[in-house]
Symmetry: C2
Subunit: 227 residues, 2 copies
Amino acid sequence: MPSAIILLSGGLDSATTAAIAQSQGFELHALSFDYGQRHKYELAAAERVAKAIGVKQHVTMRIDLAAFGGSALTAAIAVPKNRSESEMDSGIPITYVPARNTVFLSFALGLAEVTGAADIFIGVNAVDYSGYPDCRPEYIAAFEQLANLATKAGVEGTMRFTIHTPLIALTKAEIICRGLELGVDYGLTHSCYDPDRSGHACGKCDACLLRIRGFRDAGVEDPTAYS
Amino acid sequence: MPSAIILLSGGLDSATTAAIAQSQGFELHALSFDYGQRHKYELAAAERVAKAIGVKQHVTMRIDLAAFGGSALTAAIAVPKNRSESEMDSGIPITYVPARNTVFLSFALGLAEVTGAADIFIGVNAVDYSGYPDCRPEYIAAFEQLANLATKAGVEGTMRFTIHTPLIALTKAEIICRGLELGVDYGLTHSCYDPDRSGHACGKCDACLLRIRGFRDAGVEDPTAYS
């Protein structure tokens, strides 16, 4: 059974991506990041998801992206609420974390080389992607090229790294339908950027609005507890 | 005065690269990594160098590459000693740390975007590079392309990121001569992979051998205290 790395945030997208990777026959090494984000609920969700699906290994890497600041997800900047679809579709939001996916994929590449896993799965999505530059196909293609130049395994030709983005062309509703087919329990996942102290989702940030719209469009009940 | 990021390990190469960046008129944000390496002497050297040259900011980022293992620099694997030049020239050594420069450059990119610095300096070297794949020009070119696809600033066109590698085509002797012209105090730097408990360089690992050979070829006295 070949191994693959899954970047597991604990959100809806990464949980679905993990299920897709498993359905393709991969044994998973899950990698999560405690990166100075505003809350730890998504890390708890990542642990729940990793346990529920059964991974070979779950590494949570501590990195201090907050030392750089520059994002509403890591610095003392308010998370935008109740934005309209057109507002969400226009430009890169303040919740963008500089170079985040590049940092995440770099660590995934290191873990991949060490564990002998040539396949890396990431749940980026270019349809409902909230305008993040590091969720686009051209970015992923550039990283894949880099990965094969950067590594001993790539240069020596013993491994050919592939970055898998099975959600990249799906809408949120399509992602949810695919996940439900594969038995994903979305009650275990966490999407909200700004939950209350009990961990309940706000229902108003971009992540909540995209999630709510996704379940609505899929015609499926959202198991999330909103505050 | 434009700002630049300098990846500062505390070694001879990064200290020289910092001096070159300053000579080109850049104000420096230095970035070092406490990445689970075998010893902290190079971090102390990075602090000394940053202080001596006068940087605007020095960030030391803690990351746990040792959690992955897979290298003599981070795992319980012996550092090779007394290798001949032909042994050093053949293949990628065990001191290779999987994806290390990719991880380092990713953080540098995040800091660059947050601080508005479009220029990143890294002291990689393709001549005496010890066979590391992530020190080659084609790797650096791929990362630069990635950087401009990965970031808000790159996509919106407000910044065009450049990865500067002023040492890439220089021999160790040429690096030392250039640094001495610019006033670098190599007595502040640390190159050894495996120093003794007092921090004295071993004189036998690849890094020491390349350093010793460099000073010899440059016809300059090596200020290093070898054990």
